[in-house]
Symmetry: D2
């Protein structure tokens, strides 16, 4: 079940005659990272062309708009959807004209000092167009007195804290940058002799690009007619990659840190089975995100996996909720239990995470109404206790059920017979591929343990769901 919302996905390509067309396909492959809006900016070496709109990639672009995106380099962006700040003016790539010419930027992540930087810039007379933290970066670039584009970017990023995987485009160059802690992923590839960058390797599959390597934390790449150059301009920091990319965000067919996401998730299910076995008749996944872990769980314990919950993919953004008096549809619009499968059975339900607990409660109710004898809830990640400030749209922490309730209280609230979460150690083991010693120190586990790799300085940011400005 989709519960959290990823900030965004980014894509960039330089030196390909079909640049904007490949950017379109790349964004299509990154669609799961943001369904609110999509945009591409391209360049023919002299000027930038852009097309950005609210909607899915396939809704935003048509042949006419793609053919208007001339030139051999392009960057693209998909953005997630929340109420409140879903404005057209916040679509990306952000495109500006400043003293040195045209500049476009696409951003995945969240700056933690955006509010204070913006205040400082406004006092100096800068006028902001949007409410995104991304615009702070372009104002810092516009005010930089450095002589080269690359140095201006580096000067600007030196002032930024938090999470950023960025693509920049000027008429002459593509720049990709990843924050020193590497919160969000960014990978480098090659297609027909041209460099490509993307949030996930899945974007390379459709365009038949070859994966080269990850863009490293703290690395800035510039790609122009002289080829690719790599810089490491920032002080070295400990890596803090987002563990939720493994649990939920990335596509099962992507790989991250050399590990295939589907297999990592299946392994999480196996670890979960080891930590929290259940004596049950069948294992049922909460589709689609819970399926790999459910497969691992079932396999590990030798319990049959059954399709006990069916997911509808037709739901649109404008579903008309009938009057409360008629029906409480809740989760039933997305999921339906298959009674014949569940009736009379003791059922293990595997999901990837619990946020507020309300959805789990509804799913368990549905499964009980379908006749389950027992319901054992198993979660393939640790209890989510803290909000994310690095690019994932989590609720404020006191809305997170695991922040306020103990596990047995959660079990009671969601009405399961038993409830088991995967441990932090277990998830690290799953990611590290069976090795006892995980790489815990290289991951951001703040949502589980509250150890934020970057201090949260800006006051307003304590409620990450509010519009920043």
């Amino acid at each position: 079940m989709p519960k959290l919302k990823e900030e965004c996905g980014v894509f960039g390509i330089y030196g390909h005659m079909a640049a904007s067309n490949l950017a379109y396909l790349g964004l299509y492959s990154l669609q799961h990272r943001g369904q609110e809006s999509a945009g591409i900016v391209s360049t023919d070496g002299n000027k930038l062309f852009h097309h950005r709109e609210m909607g899915l990639v396939t809704e935003v672009f048509d042949e006419e708009s793609i053919s208007g995106l001339k030139g051999s380099a392009a960057i693209g962006h998909v953005r997630y959807s929340t109420t409140g700040s879903s404005h057209n003016k916040n679509t990306q790539p952000l495109l500006i004209t400043y003293e040195k010419g045209e500049l476009a930027i696409g951003h995945n992540g969240n700056l933690t000092n955006a509010t204070s930087l913006r205040q400082e810039l406004e006092i100096e007379g800068s006028i902001f167009q949007s409410t995104t933290d991304t615009e702070v970066i372009v104002h810092l670039i516009a005010r930089s007195k450095e002589q080269t584009f690359l140095k201006r970017i580096i000067e600007a990023l030196t002032r930024c804290r938090g999470a950023y995987s960025l693509v920049f485009l000027t008429p002459k160059a593509l720049v990709a940058a990843r924050d020193p802690q590497g919160f969000r992923p960014l990978v480098l590839g090659e297609v027909d002799g041209s460099y490509v960058v993307a949030s996930e390797t899945a974007a390379f599959e459709l365009i038949e690009a070859k994966y080269i390597r990850e863009v490293e934390p703290g690395e800035v790449l510039i790609i122009n007619e002289d080829g690719l150059k790599s810089f490491k301009p920032f002080p070295k920091m400990k890596q803090a990659s987002c563990v939720f990319e493994y649990i939920y965000f990335s596509r099962p067919d992507s790989f991250l840190g050399e590990r295939n996401i589907y297999q990592v998730r299946k392994e999480m299910g196996r670890q979960l089975a080891v930590e929290h076995p259940a004596n049950a008749d069948i294992v049922v996944a909460v589709p689609d995100s819970g399926v790999p872990a459910a497969m691992g769980y079932a396999e590990e314990l030798g319990i049959p996996l059954e399709m006990g919950l069916l997911r509808s993919h037709y739901i649109g953004r404008t579903f008309i909720q009938p009057k409360q008096s008629i029906r409480n549809l809740g989760v039933k619009l997305k999921l339906n239990a298959i009674k014949e499968v569940i009736n009379g059975k003791s059922v293990v339900v595997v999901d990837d995470s619990i946020v507020r607990g309300t959805t789990s409660r509804k799913i368990i109710k549905m499964i009980r109404e379908a006749g389950a004898k027992e319901v054992h809830m198993r979660i393939s990640s640790p209890p989510m206790k803290f909000s994310c400030y690095y690019g994932i749209d989590t609720p404020v922490k006191n809305e997170l059920i695991a922040n306020t309730l103990e596990i047995d209280e959660i079990n009671h609230y969601i009405t399961s017979d038993t409830l088991g979460y995967l441990s932090i150690k277990g998830i690290m083991k799953a990611i590290s591929n069976y090795s006892e010693i995980g790489e815990k120190e290289n991951f951001c586990l703040a949502c589980f343990d509250g150890n934020y790799p970057v201090k949260i300085t800006d006051e307003k940011i304590t409620n990450p769901q509010l519009d920043l400005f």
Copy 2:
């Protein structure tokens, strides 16, 4: 993989204060039966209200349009999409005003004598608005001299041959009718004391209606302020229910003839394993429709089921195919192979059917490129050799690969190492639930064996893909 297109889904409700709202939810649950257009006609007892448009249910309706559909009775319809006849004028329910007042009709199925009936009516001076066979029925009703609405419907249907599951609405009554051979499904239920009819039981789930029974082949139900009355006005004929509802069309959570579709499909996979076992490392389903059979196949043989193919649900109706010169995307827009799962393995691929063979060929190519050592194709239905004239949009028979090629030739064409189809006997066994003696005589198996339960009289109809008129 979606390959064939169902004609339609229908829904009807009488005597509920939220009639059009429940019709909307019912259509949402029947969305898989037709994604081209959706429509609802309601009545307040005096006049009919309608809203019909091209698009998905969630796109066609919004709060304003639903609230304009006043009254306590409603019928709804979803229609499939083919090129050529996707015109607004063909959206349903069809709504007419004739001498006796207003009348709406929603139709799932295909009349086999529509062309000759239409010619006859036109010679007598009738003017047709659409190119659907459904309009023939309303003209027959309009010309009937019978005194009651029900008798006019019966007189009209007496002249029709072929497949029809119908819902009619007048300001005073809801009528449901199913052809004497029962080609297409139609079920009766009850919610809050009101009767509902629908193409599938899945439509009852979301609105929490209770299943009562199937509308029987040849049965005409009239529901009005006097309650429900049942009529059997047509000569009795042998039942000929469409077997493809079990193989592909109906939702896994629907049940049909008392059997749950998901379980029937899983059983087909088990039968397939019995008939065509394979010595392989993993079983991979072609999602979504191939998943249940793959689960049964894997379970029967004890081979692990793996998610080797990932399906994208984001594709819209307007995907821009990049220039042929760039990439041949083919099936890759919908499916992606997970290399890490497949590489070096001997793979059984389970799908529900093969129509032209081109998609299977592409899927196998994709799996081989992901590194499969061997690819064994298994199909959970018999070879499709003949076109359907009863409401399924199959190609003309010489485009059906199994009509022109032997199984070993198909195996060669799609480049699998081995290929196995489920036998007719096996599919009957799966549907009949392990009993050796299937109910073959009550099913339409024309697409497999060419025995058409209704003689095809109209010449033009030999190419079912062409617009009828």
Copy 3:
């Protein structure tokens, strides 16, 4: 001031490679005859192509839609706007497929026996798509057993009473027909060797077509690859041309019955000056329709004509009337008095007609507020006392101020100092060009004298503003 609404304008062309393009220009020139919807149907000799929508000609068509209207023959139609029946389904040309093939029809006028014909057809089983009287004609054609298209049209029209100027198009022929009394105009021309027909000669100007002659009352023209043939199949009747075409509907640059409309209107102003002179400082026209008569009035009496009222042409169809509490905008959205011109003057205001009197009352109030010493209202047509049943959208007769009030009472109601209407004799003299003996017997003056040239048989039609069906 626009007060009455014309039914429609029609256009037809046969045998020109730019047929639909010229139809578009023709309709643009006839836009004043109907601003609700526009449509063109064309043919390439085998099938018909159509494009019809609500809106102005320039809104309805673009390059794509025009280029889709293939072929060398076309008919077009513009339709007026009233509330209630402004439905898409009533746009014309009406296009049907019947036993003999495709047929399109465009209609200007109103059948007086449409209701009874429709009832008769519905009893025989015909199903109507629209609420227009025009559809009655096509059903009569579809039911005709005559062997040729022309004979079927003639048989159908023989049953129709009232006003019709019609264009028909089949894949092979263009047919134009005018009712035996010639209520509505229809003219024949020629461009680049191709025949054209249109409601007014103004449509010929823009496309540089040469005027040939009027289509005569009762004449049916068929134009096909054999050229033009004329038929007079109906019993001869006395001509009854609509006098309001001269007063208000036709464009000033059109000519009708060999007379230029602008000059006829100016002459009406002169006759009005002779019948009702005024001792005033200035003459002011109610723009735009009152201008020619005001020019004639001023010239005849030697009083200066001044632009005392200015008309706005920007008003759209969706003007937001501010809350009544704020301002009563009334006529001020369309007209504004120029104070400096009017202040302290004795003013003659010339308008073409008074319908309900409310607009005249507001105009006079506006002129008085601008400081006029005296206001003398002069109307260049006789008092409108009776409703029209032949194609003009007049209110029911008891809403016509001249039906219920005497002239001095009207003068009192509209608050003018004096009020003068042109006499019937005067208007005939103006049309007849100074000859004492007018052709009164050839005109329909029913709205002035109540002598309806066709008996009004259908009961429902006594309220012409209601939807016919």
Copy 4:
């Protein structure tokens, strides 16, 4: 005939419960000053609300958008249409958020030092959103270190050169400002006790506001809860009001400098008759703008005024020009000659100005084809020889026919028999109302005599038609 395009119209109102509704009506009355886009920004005392779109006022706004413009103060703007810079981002009022809060601005006029100011601001790191000169003003305000909003505006305007009539809105105040030379008009009025400002008095008529006085050149008005305060912060300069407001731009029912525009134009016609009489049968105006001068001309010489040219008001923005091969429609889409009026006559044609000469040439051709014996062209303004840099969209000077050709050469080019322009002295006399000594010194006559009241410093601006940036 419309030939030149006005930059814009502005409107402002403070302290009225129906502020945005009255702004809507005000903009409707100023529609002739800009048909490209329209926008309103309102305030409820705490925040700003806005609605801006491409299109006519009646297209841009509906009840929903007006009701969303909450509060008791509002400013509005209409913008003209040219190709190239008709972007959504250039619609006004421009709305920004800067350090001190929200600010909206509407601008009529053109800054002559915008390019150099923008360069200076960009070097300091400002990022511009639009290509309008108006944005320069807001950046100057955002960078001002002055303590009050009014002082920041004054500091910013002190740096601006050229033409500006401005309205500003903050949540707390409405500010109106006019440049020290008073190029463009701006008037002050009062309605229901609330102050209103507008580009023309015509905007006061519809909302029944009372005219108070002109906003004086160099005056800055601030209207807030303390009432209205007036400031004169700029060094005094000689007035340079645009003479073309009298000739063409302003509405005939507006008055300017206490003079009614219609009467001034009629007087121009009389002066033209005195300077260039003609011995002709009839006087014909080029509608609509040539009508008042034609009336004056005809009256002065006692020659009858006839409606020889008819104007169509239906032309939309998307007229499909038929292929060149078919017809050269030229000016015929807008004007049609009435043959019966012109045929055999010696005709004086009166227009307000000649820009490139191509339209005049086409009009004369049309009149000759209608059978005119002689055509005498009379222009109610002096030859336009120089481009405007103060807010009127004139072509570059070498495209102005009077810049490159002598009057007899123009006469030859446009194919008139004789051609007469009104002299500068004559136009001053007409404006000054019969007094021999005009106020020439207070007008900008640069387009006639090349004496630019503000030196043109910015290089790029020598081609005023190009996008400024």
